[in-house]
Amino acid sequence: MSQGSEGPAPVGPGPDQREMPAGRRSSQGIRVDPQVEATHESRRTVLSALVYHEPGVLAEVSGLVSRRQFNIESLTVGSTTNPETARITLVIEEPEPGVRQVERQLEKLQPVISVRELGDDAVRRELVVLKVHGDNPDEVNAITRMYDGTTLDAGPRTITVQITGDEQKIDDAIDAFRQFDIRELARTGQTALSRGDEWTTDAEEERYEQMRQEQAATDDDD
């Protein structure tokens, strides 16, 4: 006396007999089209996020990155021209859909004002502080100079130097210093701005103009 009580319930073919659709998607959910590349390789790229400088913002960003398993190389945070805002620079390694996901998920966070992926020509810098054994001060000094570095501290047992540059240069410098037996090192991770006239993130120009106007207004008052 089921719903199909008038005789046996009509039942279509089982899983193996069914007519199956053609086609397939990649694990990234992209339709595999013979004409089009359906799988994206990972690439390393820099995202800059302008955020409100408020408690919890770093926790929000780092929490997002970890819970969504975004592949991240470094994350730096620091102040900007405007005391209300801070800039977070993320270096990520993700395939194309992943890059867009990081960008869009970041944009959803309440304290995030705007996010932008920087082009390959962006100016990027990183700083490393290295502490090596102090047995060969002259040689250490020579290598430090080759990398336009600065000696921060020199004692009988250790020498501490600083090198700044892009990621490749820092990697190379660390390699070069290995001969002195690096005792400790600290890298800051990359920070970056877009090159030339271009603003790094969308909201920045507006905020800058606003600040200038406020500045001008106070100047007039004086």
Binding site: M1, S2, Q3, G4, A9, P10, V11, G12, P13, G14, P15, R18, M20, P21, A22, G23, R24, R25, S26, S27, Q28, G29, I30, R31, P55, G56, A59, E60, G63, L64, R67, P97, R100, Q101, R104, Q105, E107, K108, L109, Q110
Partner: protein, 586 residues
């Protein structure tokens, strides 16, 4: 009791003096952070809040004492959050729940996470130890902000009595706009108690709902018009965006079949010829066939959850995807969108309608969909020598209730039967825990739904396991004479787990059978509700009728066939087109 922070109400004489010397009327003007909090709720049009008292939130409760907002005292904070969530699902406006610091706040967590997964509008207010104590591991201190950060749209630590009202207003408006979701305001006791004369801002003007890029709409419309096998997938965002009318209009005007997701149930009437009901793991065979064969999927307000897609490799493999969503982060998150249309569902559907150059030529396709409907109907057998079948109970109750009756559920097999065998024709009638799959959602949700819609019938289909998790809520329903009917589809097991063990763990039923289940009829009566036990087909109509007629909460303990399983089924990560109709097809 060792509540640490003894209430530090502002000195009473001082408060009165100040009120007397002030020009403003004390009625409309808050004098403390707590009153500002309540004033903000009132300004937002809140009529009900669900919660449980406790030390750190006492000032806010005290402010409720003189307010028109009705407080529903719950038996457990998890229930408060679920009730508020269901209230939000039924009304479309944020439900409000409140709890004290520490255990009160952590008990809310499940309900907040649930709302977050389903984008349900919810505002949670939690008490917190006084600001000076924060970070000292004070009595009943938890880092509520830290705990709820990943499960809220955003949360706020109220730091100032003068701004707390605005913070609550902002939390409320954020919960209800854009992609809806839960927000939380953590209220340290000194901030609630602190004096303020800051008025509460008027709620912001409603912004026009966001529309999609016209150029993107144009190309998407062309793709739809050119499709031979178009299919609409109507998701929970259609409910949230009140776009049900637009989906109906679009589908019928262009003759496009409609499948829904589970949260989209009711957005398109299930008795309509074009309706294929809901797709996914336990969805209808015909919806899953249509999804697998469509060449143009118009997905509206869905996040392509894995319970819907199965393995993405085989999901709608030949379809160009038009994805309408208000949240840009959903675009191409799980399934690549060939035509992303970011905006409000109703607005974008109207745009799409206007841009359609012609109707797609889909007559043959509609025919195929009808064939699948005939080939794979949802059925069940009722042999004489087997116990009562749950599907029969669901259908029987559907027949005796109004179209706008609200169904809430726990999580498990019963939830699937309630979704499969009840015919939903209106949005906001199937109120469930989808994304989080929270056992225990059903009863508190029924309470929230009944408070939200006192004139509508409210039915909760529960499992015995789910019911045991939150049935203390019966005390609330009895106290407030809430006319709800709980039907426990009792299989003496956490059946969904048992079904998976039988199918995928060689029948090793570890911790899934509940032979020690209490007698729910007696239990219901002990709470002061009406209790019924149901075992025979012949009694189904009578018992359900009596339970529905009883003017107050009733519990029907329906002893169903423990061997009954949920089909169709697409195994986890499987191919939707290969849904199984029985265990031997898995």
């Amino acid at each position: 009791m060792s509540e640490p922070a003894s209430p530090t109400y502002p000195d009473e004489d001082e408060a009165t003096e100040e009120a007397a010397s002030s020009d403003r009327s004390t009625e409309s003007q808050p004098t403390t952070g707590a009153e500002a909090t309540v004033a903000a709720l009132e300004a937002a049009g809140v009529e009900h809040v669900f919660g449980v008292q406790g030390g750190a939130i006492m000032p806010v409760y005290d402010a409720l004492y003189d307010s028109d907002v009705t407080h529903v005292t719950m038996a457990h904070e998890q229930g408060a959050a679920h009730a508020a969530d269901a209230y939000g699902q039924v009304t479309g406006e944020p439900g409000v729940c409140m709890a004290t610091s520490g255990p009160g706040a952590t008990n809310l967590v499940t309900g907040i996470a649930d709302a977050n997964m389903d984008s349900d509008p919810l505002v949670a207010l939690t008490g917190q130890v006084p600001t000076d104590f924060v970070g000292n591991d004070a009595f009943q201190e938890t880092d509520t902000i830290g705990i709820t950060r990943p499960i809220t749209k955003t949360n706020y630590f109220a730091s100032d009595s003068d701004t707390v009202g605005d913070t609550v207003s902002e939390a409320f408006s954020l919960a209800r706009t854009g992609r809806q979701g839960p927000t939380l305001v953590d209220l340290p006791k000194d901030v609630s108690n602190g004096e303020t004369d800051a008025g509460v801002a008027e709620p912001d003007e409603e912004e026009a709902p966001p529309a999609a890029e016209p150029a993107a709409v144009e190309v998407a419309a062309e793709a739809v018009a050119e499709a031979e096998r178009p299919l609409i997938l109507s998701g929970g965002g259609v409910t949230k965006g009140e776009a049900s009318e637009e989906v109906r209009a679009f589908a019928t005007e262009y003759g496009i079949p409609v499948a829904t997701t589970m949260p989209g149930i009711g957005t398109f009437p299930e008795d309509h010829e074009l309706c294929l009901s809901w797709a996914g793991m336990h969805g209808t065979g015909y919806a899953n066939m249509a999804i697998s064969h469509t060449d143009c999927l118009i997905a509206v307000g869905t996040r392509f959850d894995d319970r819907l897609t199965g393995g993405v490799e085989t999901f709608a493999p030949g379809a160009k995807v038009v994805h309408v969503d208000i949240d840009p982060a959903e675009i191409s998150k799980n399934v690549h969108a060939d035509y992303p249309l970011i905006g409000d569902a109703a607005t974008v559907l109207e745009q799409l309608d206007e841009a359609m150059p012609a109707a797609p030529d889909a007559e043959a396709w509609r025919g195929r969909c009808q064939d699948w409907k005939r080939e794979y109907p949802l059925t069940y057998d009722t042999p004489d020598d087997e116990p009562l079948k749950p599907q029969f109970v669901v259908e029987a109750l559907d027949e005796m209730t109004d179209d706008d009756a609200i169904v809430t559920t726990g999580v498990g097999q019963h939830q699937m039967w309630a979704a499969q065998f009840w015919t939903y024709t209106e949005p906001r009638t199937y109120v469930s825990s989808h994304g989080l799959g929270t056992m225990g959602y059903g009863l508190p949700a029924a309470i929230g739904a009944k408070v939200a819609a006192p004139d509508r019938e409210v039915v909760c289909f529960d499992g015995d396991g789910s019911f045991l998790m939150t049935m203390q809520g019966l005390s609330v329903a009895v106290r407030d004479s809430l006319d709800i009917t709980v039907v426990v589809l009792n299989n003496r097991a956490i059946g969904m787990v048992r079904q998976w063990q039988d199918a995928f763990f060689e029948g090793r039923r570890m911790a899934s059978e509940y032979p020690w289940i209490p007698d729910f009829e007696t239990l219901a009566e002990a709470f002061g509700a009406r209790g019924f036990t149901l075992r025979e087909y012949d009694d189904v109509a009578n018992v359900l009728e009596e339970a529905m007629e009883y003017d107050g909460p009733s519990v029907v303990d329906a002893h169903i066939d423990p061997a009954e399983n949920v089909y169709p089924m697409v195994p986890s990560g499987g191919d939707n087109a290969r849904f199984a109709l029985s265990e031997d097809q898995l």
